[in-house]
């Protein structure tokens, strides 16, 4: 009778997925998202899914997990709350000054991000800590009270506090928090020493301000959803995905909202990682192509790569998050000819309206139109017939940009696909090659509506030989949620020189963090057998300013264990930068612990491998255009839901399903695996 439910809210659809622990069956439901109140679609989806499963009620749900874009959207649409800021005297403008660079080197019309706290809501108080952590000047409490009173009168709902060196001496920030809670008990408080105890004042400030700005929005969303689920009868603790890919209870997430800003996209990556690991592909590059942009990330040994921060619209956010790189290239990206006669694609997008020309409103060619012209996409309808396609409109749009280049619409369409593929390959090189990983060692895993259309071409561009397409690319995020571990990160910045003969220094620093992790495990009621600790050191040569993460598998108890770590650093440095400095002093900058509570294992149902012939799934044959030499050629079109495990398809071929279309180029070989994934071996010819 026990069910696990995962819900992923996307821009267009909300996917709900249930795993029945008694039967091992997976059920999926897709409903339209309700952006004005995302909870409505969630509740509707859950209820529809439960009736679909039959004979089940929400009280049977023993695990509920959710990925949300509420935080990201609040940031992108600037719909956070009125926020105040208190800083060390002399530094209230740091939020605007940032690192001093202008937003675009050559474009004088580019603007800096508008600060989330306007200058009139930024106050300075007298206090100063030295770089050693010693107090130079005590906190002036009277000034603090004056500032808090003024902010109260100005109607702030949230206050961020960021003092210099608060990661070394948090007492001044803590005292300010006490004063705020005493004077303005309803105001949300964010301290930089709690949100991000790391050095570099601007990055810390920007992060704590982000937390303060979206915190109340996320808090309200989660607490309201929690109440509504409870009213409907959910007794299990609801969980939400953090930017680091782990899930935590709503209640814990509400304390550190900034860690949810990438909840939505990271849910997709974790889903892909889980599904592909189960299918025997632990090393993958995910490629989520939507309408206006594509997200890419790298997963090694089933674990998505983590980074310690990102910039969102020019504002740094430092928090542990999956290393997801976004590029402005999607199905709606428009093709155009620039003044030098080059065919370009994006960053302008057709958006939801007018949309690609084939939707009937626009005249400019989008990437989708290129796919329609070449008949990779169904030239008559999409979404199982729900959306009509006007191929003539696509042809006209492509003819228009092909004219100045004196090429036919089909060649212009192929050109657009090559350019957009190059743009996406560039994004993937950032998260692979530039980080020291060779993309050829990874399988490409496309999802999102447009991913599987472009995957084979993109794989060729990168020299990747395997593409894995999950059974339901749209719903895999929701499914992945059911297999995600509970995770929390603990960190402490403390620049510490590493001496071979003093291994205990490292261990002492970790002990404090391990205690915090142990307390957290207790709070979360995680069974002792499911507890895992991952220790990581951010290390560098003394004098450098960027660190490399080094995993510490065991406790550092003796010089030998420390020597192993030191050696690992040299190796990592050499791999990254091509040299090592054996005689240099090493420093640890940040000690990190990730506490992981393993989730219940899900055994996905594996089908018997049947015979190789896919004929039963053959829908039709249509002429499609793969290259200029051959021109149009006959291409079989298969229905994805008619394919069975073991079926084999050779390219060229098209495989259609409700929410996506997969293209096999000539030479590609595809087999349906026991979990229903399409596993494509890329052909040699390119």
């Amino acid at each position: 009778m026990r069910l696990r439910i995962g819900v992923d809210t996307g821009g267009t659809f909300t996917d709900v997925c249930a795993f029945d622990e008694t039967t091992g069956a997976v059920h999926v439901r897709k409903v339209s998202s309700t952006p004005d109140d995302p909870g409505r679609a969630i509740l509707a989806g859950v209820s529809e899914l439960l009736s679909q499963v039959g004979d089940r009620s929400i009280t049977d749900v023993e695990y509920f997990a959710h990925g949300t874009t509420v935080g990201t959207n609040a940031l992108l649409t600037h719909s956070g709350v009125t926020t105040g800021l208190i800083t060390t005297r002399g530094f209230k403008d740091l939020l605007e000054l940032g690192r001093g660079r202008r937003p675009h080197m050559y474009n004088p019309q580019a603007d800096k991000p508008v600060p989330f706290v306007p200058r009139e809501l930024r106050y300075e108080v007298t206090e100063r800590v030295r770089h050693t952590g010693d107090i130079e000047t005590e906190l002036n409490e009277q000034e603090t009270r004056d500032a808090v009173r003024a902010l109260g009168e100005q109607g702030v709902e949230s206050i961020a506090v960021c003092f210099l060196y608060s990661f070394l001496a948090p007492q001044h920030e803590r005292r300010v928090a006490e004063i705020i809670r005493e004077m303005l008990p309803d105001v949300h408080v964010s301290l930089s020493s709690e949100i991000l105890p790391e050095f570099r004042e601007y990055e810390r400030l920007s992060t704590v301000v982000t937390n303060a700005y979206v915190g109340p929005v996320i808090f309200r969303y989660l607490s309201r959803l929690r109440e509504r689920l409870a009213e409907d009868g959910l007794s299990a603790t609801p969980h939400v995905t953090q930017s680091n890919g782990g899930v935590i209870p709503f209640a814990t997430a509400e304390e550190m909202p900034v860690r949810l800003v990438l909840s939505g996209p990271s849910t997709g990556v974790v889903g892909a990682a889980q599904i592909c690991a189960a299918a025997g592909h632990p090393d993958i590059i995910t490629f989520d192509m939507g309408g206006t942009s594509s997200d890419v990330s790298l997963v090694q040994n089933g674990e998505p790569k983590i980074t310690s921060g990102m910039e969102l619209e020019g504002r740094p956010i430092r928090s542990p998050m999956l290393d997801i790189h976004t590029v402005g290239a999607g199905g709606g990206s428009l093709g155009w000819i620039d003044s030098g006669g080059h065919l370009r694609v994006g960053p302008q997008s057709a958006g939801a309206y007018p949309g690609p020309a084939c939707y009937g409103h626009g005249t400019e060619p989008a990437v989708t139109d290129a796919n329609v012209v070449l008949r990779f996409l169904n030239p008559e309808y999409l979404l199982n017939g729900q959306m009509k396609i006007d191929r003539e409109a696509s042809v006209a749009a492509l003819r228009a940009i092909g004219a100045p280049l004196e090429i036919e619409p089909e060649e212009a369409a192929l050109g657009m696909l090559r350019v957009v593929t190059a743009n996406m390959a560039r994004a993937i090189r950032v998260i692979s090659v530039q980080r020291g990983y060779d993309p050829r060692d990874y399988a490409l895993v496309p999802f999102g509506g447009a991913g599987p259309l472009h995957a084979s071409r993109l794989a060729r561009e990168l020299g990747i030989d395997t593409v894995v397409i999950p059974e339901i690319p749209g719903a895999q995020s929701a499914l992945g949620l059911l297999m995600t571990d509970v995770k929390a990160d603990f960190m402490q910045s403390k620049i510490t020189r590493v001496h071979r003969d003093k291994p205990e220094i490292v261990d002492t620093a970790f002990s404090e963090l391990e205690q915090q992790a142990a307390d957290w495990f207790d709070e979360e009621n995680i069974d002792c057998n499911d507890r895992q600790i991952v220790r990581r050191l951010d290390m560098r040569y003394a004098g450098q300013n960027f660190e490399l993460p080094i995993e510490v598998p065991t406790k550092i108890t003796d010089a030998e264990a420390l020597a192993t770590i030191i050696d690992q650093f040299h190796v990592a440095h050499e791999r990254m930068y091509g040299y090592r400095l054996e005689n240099s002093v090493l420093e640890v900058v940040t000690f990190r612990i990730q506490a992981v509570g393993a989730s219940a294992t899900i055994e996905l149902t594996r089908s018997e491998m049947t015979d190789a012939d896919p004929a039963a799934a053959l829908d039709s044959v249509r002429d499609a255009y793969f290259d200029a030499e051959t021109g149009y050629r006959e291409c079989p079109v298969y229905r994805r839901d008619g394919l069975n495990a073991g079926n084999r398809i050779s390219g060229p071929a098209v495989i259609e399903q409700m929410d996506t279309t997969t293209v096999l180029l000539p030479g590609d070989e595809c087999v349906v695996d026991a979990l229903g994934n399409l596993v494509i071996t890329i052909g040699d010819d390119s």
Binding site: F91, E96, R99, M105, G341, N545
Partner: protein, 556 residues
């Protein structure tokens, strides 16, 4: 496939060129990332005062990292040509790394910019060059009467010969540096970036074939040239002039800088006749710096998306009298050349205001305010040289306010975090803030200047300030007001600044203020809510606000 497209050079279709161009850009980005991450000195690792570039075999710039500084474009412009004029083809081998910094014999546009360059051989043939430039913040407490005082001069020489490090040369260079450990580590970081280029370029050639890559490079330059010419054609033909006063702490008198621009069809001519002769101070500009400034301004005005490669240079013609401050000859000192370069850009903006009023900006803060502290750090038992360049106001635009407190035009370095600075040097930052009311009034307000107050925590600290706009104000356009001047104030009892220099003792406080920027359009046209918001934010004073109100009243 797809070879029927219209082509101009080498039989390559535009799509292939576009694809290879994207790969080239990725390579220079990766070079730059490697350099910043592996570097040791704060000026590179935190402030990113460095650039990476790829050149074709003949030395034409094909791709440059856009995270770097526009001024570095010029510094790298002559490097390959200089190496090739010094070394015959049979003296250039696979595995060589050249080093150079001398503005007069090839290398940077001032001595701290040390360039490392390597030839890239594919199958034994020279196919391309890669170069990195890094500003090595060293050479503190120097004179600037002529270049021999400014630092060691290095013509292009082998630092590595066929993979073998030339230890003797390195030792000579390091002995002439004040912080040799940093220099050595930073040079290694530059070499690491070059290795990235060699590997990645090789992979690219393997994938597409060297001949394809070479013709793609040619086509990329032609393509940029076509776009540049197309954009210039949109500018009204004519002759445009402008002049402005230039001051710096080293000079007693102000100089008059001038420019004449002729736009004819798809070409632009920049004439610097009539500029003052070079001076016995650091602000002279070598030709590479002048060219970089003009190219920057052109790219900014015509199309910021045009690739910064040598194709951009072709429709642009520059003339400047030899031996003048904008085209100096040896042995003129050049360390503070960026002050002048900033003003060359302002001159171009001013001259073209009537031609392209919606593209230009009012005068920006007009300086690249360099604050140099150097001396003995007793607490950490080491010598140090700390350089920070402070931004200021950016000029108002035809439809928007100028940016407050940013790096403008020829520089775009990051600031050094206070928490990093104080950990490394005997200095304490007391304030880092915008200067209220320092932007010029106008329908669109000029950007605000920056105040940075630094307390010295050791004795005998040499201080040098190179800046500009202390004696004049950044001008507004079309009725916009001027921004506030720059200033530098010392605490009581500190040794007064003489021609930009002082020696400070523990407890002295230096307050550096950079200029605001000019406004755009008549103040009476300013939106009332913008005035109110500026007043609430204290970005303007009550007096300024009432001036706006008065001007609007008189209008009504």
């Amino acid at each position: 496939m797809n070879t029927t497209a219209v082509t101009k050079t080498g039989g390559l279709d535009p799509v292939t060129v576009e694809v290879i161009g994207a790969a080239m850009s990725t390579i220079v980005e990766e070079m730059s990332e490697t350099l910043v991450k592996a570097a040791f000195s704060p000026n590179i690792k935190e402030r990113r005062d460095c650039t990476a570039s790829l050149f074709d075999a003949a030395g034409q710039a094909v791709a440059q990292d856009e995270g770097g500084s526009p001024l570095h474009l010029g510094s790298l412009m002559g490097i390959v040509t200089s190496i090739r004029s010094r070394f015959a083809d049979d003296q250039i081998h696979e595995g060589d790394v050249f080093i150079g910094n001398d503005p007069y014999t090839g290398g940077g546009s001032h001595l701290p910019d040390i360039v490392l360059a390597t030839p890239i051989f594919v199958d034994g043939t020279l196919a391309a060059w890669a170069a990195t430039l890094a500003h090595h913040a060293d050479f503190g407490d120097r004179g600037h009467a002529h270049i021999f005082q400014e630092a060691i001069r290095i013509p292009p020489l082998h630092l590595v010969r066929e993979g073998v490090a030339q230890e003797e040369l390195l030792q000579l260079i390091l002995l002439n540096c004040q912080v040799p450990e940093e220099r050595e580590a930073d040079l290694r970081a530059q070499e690491a970036a070059l290795r990235v280029a060699v590997t990645r370029f090789g992979e690219l050639c393997q994938r597409y074939g060297t001949a394809t890559i070479t013709s793609a490079c040619d086509e990329l330059l032609d393509y940029t040239e076509r776009r540049t010419r197309a954009a210039i054609t949109d500018f009204p033909d004519g002759e445009y002039q402008f002049e402005d006063l230039f001051d710096c702490p080293e000079l007693d008198d102000e100089l008059t800088l001038k420019i004449r621009i002729v736009i004819a069809g798809d070409e632009m001519h920049f004439d610097f006749a009539g500029n003052p002769p070079q001076v016995r101070a650091s602000i002279n500009v070598v030709w590479t710096g002048l060219y970089a400034s003009v190219y920057y301004a052109v790219k900014t005005l015509i199309d910021p998306d045009i690739d910064p490669n040598a194709g951009l240079y072709r429709p642009i013609h520059i003339e400047a009298p030899r031996g003048s401050v904008v085209n100096c000859e040896a042995p003129a000192a050049v360390n503070g050349r960026s002050e002048t370069c900033q003003r060359i850009v302002d001159l171009i903006m001013g001259a073209l205001a009537d031609a392209v009023p919606t593209r230009v900006t009012a005068a920006s803060n007009g300086a690249n305010t360099g604050v140099h502290f150097s001396g003995r750090d007793q607490e950490r038992s080491r010598d140090f040289v700390y350089l920070e360049t402070i931004g200021g106001g950016s000029g108002a635009r035809s439809s928007k306010d100028g940016l407050d407190g940013v790096q403008v035009h020829m520089t775009n370095t990051s600031n050094l975090p206070v928490e990093s600075l104080e950990t490394e040097y005997p200095l304490m930052v007391e304030a880092y803030e915008l200067i209220d009311d320092s932007g010029g009034v106008g329908e669109f307000r000029g950007g605000l200047g920056i105040r940075r107050r630094v307390r010295v925590e050791a004795d005998d600290i040499h201080f040098w300030l190179d800046t500009s706009r202390q004696k004049s104000q950044p001008w507004g356009l079309f009725g916009g007001g001027s921004g506030a001047s720059a200033a530098c104030v010392l605490s009581e009892g500190a040794q007064p600044i003489d021609h930009g220099y002082s020696v400070l003792k523990s407890g002295d406080v230096v307050s550096i203020e950079t200029a605001g920027a000019g406004g755009y359009g008549e103040p009476c046209g300013r939106d009332e809510t913008a005035v109110e918001q500026d007043l609430r934010d204290a970005k303007i004073s009550a007096d300024t606000a009432s001036e706006y109100v008065k001007s609007q009243g008189s209008e009504k």
